[in-house]
Amino acid sequence: MSKPVTVTLEFSGGLETVFNNIKSRKVTIPAPEDGKTLDMGYVVKYLADNLLKGNRDMFVLADKIRPGILVLINDADWELEGEEEYEPKDGDSLLFVSTLHGG
């Protein structure tokens, strides 16, 4: 059974516009009610369900992170950290940055 974790969330690259213009915020993610693991897959769905205020498709497609959005865990590409299976720890910094907006 997972415990809640407190992480620093950051949104940039235009993604902040669907998250109420949050650029950076400390957020406590509650443990999943079904007793499952609190991993990044769960965090993404939790954010989409609870924090997202705009167009959901800008962030997730079928509850998975939309291709073209980069996720950095403590400044490292989440692909190096196990992506959805990474289990965030207290104090982790999670950055979601869109590459899909205008250049």
């Binding site: 940039s12 980069l70 590409d77 205008g102």
Partner: protein, 398 residues
């Protein structure tokens, strides 16, 4: 043989990797990634010979991630490798409140950060007061990208001319080019398919050449470069441009990248291979150059314009296709002159921008004419003529 430790950078073998490179699957630490990214752009510049010592070059700058990274990297490389070129920032103000005015503030900061001269040319001054806000007020949101694409192309040329510059570099990246390759393939547009992957394009209707030094750079790496170098850029979407076709092409390549990261570069290489395979047939009809267009490469109005022209001029295009088969001779016969009104290079009496401006100044959109009927007649003599035309045409149709 010792396998590299996946917890350490593949190059320096000491630091923690933070980037997984989509091209090579290399795991690199921050300094090694920044250097690798810059070095690849340098290699592109050197192998394609796009810069000439002593040359003054304008960087098409929107304040977005691509052009900001381009300006930063070019400054770094010009100093590191002594290209001996001078860079200037050139920005277009389309006159879109809440979109371009904010991003232009970013460009102004960039000009200070990179110690580059900055010129902003506006649609308002160039096109007799017609900002995109006003254009959209007149014609509506649908089809406005056609205007923006034509106007921007000419505005960049005019800005370059004002600066006495013959070469503009833009921030088009590998993802943009892969997208364009797909779009041209899906449209069956072979002339553009040939040219869209070229690093430098010169058009018969423009004295200014355009280059894309980031053509092999992944969008992912551009964003990561901007992030790790803490560059100051602005992200927003043009409020007038949904551009569904490019959007779908974009989604397609992003999905492909997820499954096979090399896909994007492979598509760019395919674009180059098409050009090599069929021989470069050069630019098609004058003023048909429509690749990219938008200051934000994402919402490229030019491609939408091209799509619309294509739909309108289907017959013409068939003819052009035949002409192409006969070879380049035919195309060269096309007479190039100056627009009788503004002097811009064109094969017609009026350049495309002036034709569009004529439309804006003289008429109201067709839909409105039909809906508002008699009201327009009172609006002025020219409008009466046009209105009568509409009525005649409508009568003929019945």
């Amino acid at each position: 043989m010792l396998l590299p430790n996946p917890r350490l950078c593949a190059r320096c073998l000491t630091a923690r990797p933070v980037v997984l490179r989509p091209k090579t699957q290399e795991r690199l630490c921050k300094p090694c990634f920044l250097l690798a990214f810059e070095t690849e752009i340098h290699e592109t510049i050197i192998s394609t010979n796009i810069f000439t010592r002593g040359e003054k070059i304008a960087i098409g700058a929107s304040g977005g991630k691509d052009s900001t990274v381009l300006a930063s990297v070019l400054k770094t490389l010009n100093e590191r490798y002594d290209y001996g070129v001078e860079f200037v920032l050139l920005s277009i103000d389309e006159g879109i409140k809440g979109y371009r005015d904010d991003s232009l503030e970013t460009v102004k900061r960039n000009a200070q950060q990179y110690e580059m001269e900055l010129l902003i040319v506006g649609y308002e001054e160039l096109y007799g007061g017609w900002t995109m806000d006003k254009v959209v007020g007149q014609i509506g949101k649908k089809g406005n990208c056609t205007y923006c694409g034509v106007f921007r192309r000419q505005a960049l040329d005019r800005g370059a001319e004002l600066l006495g510059i013959k070469h503009v570099v833009t921030g088009h990246n590998a993802d943009d080019i892969a997208e364009t390759v797909f779009m041209n393939l899906l449209r069956g547009d072979l002339p553009r398919l040939h040219r869209c992957a070229h690093i430098t394009t010169a058009s018969s209707t423009s004295p200014i050449k355009r280059s894309k030094p980031l053509k092999y750079a992944y969008e992912k790496e551009i964003v990561l470069y901007a992030h790790h170098k803490k560059l100051d850029y602005f992200s927003t979407e043009c409020i007038y441009s949904p551009e569904a076709f490019r959007g779908s092409a974009r989604a397609l390549i992003k999905n492909l990248e997820k499954i096979r990261p090399s896909s994007i570069l492979d598509v760019v290489k395919s674009g180059e291979a098409f050009a090599a395979m069929t021989g470069d047939i050069g630019p098609p009809a004058a003023e048909e150059e429509g690749e990219g267009g938008c200051g934000s490469t994402r919402s490229g109005g030019g491609s939408m314009a091209a799509e619309e022209r294509r739909l309108r001029n289907k017959e013409k295009i068939v003819t052009r296709g035949k002409a192409n088969q006969k070879g380049a001779r035919k195309r060269n016969e096309q007479k190039l002159g100056s627009c009788v009104r503004c002097g811009y290079l064109t094969s017609q009496e009026l350049c495309k921008a002036c034709v569009l401006l004529d439309g804006l100044n003289k008429t109201v959109p067709r839909v409105e004419v039909e809906l508002e009927g008699l009201k327009t007649i009172t609006d002025g003599v020219q409008r009466v003529d046009l209105h009568m035309d509409e009525i005649k045409r409508a009568a003929a149709a019945i």
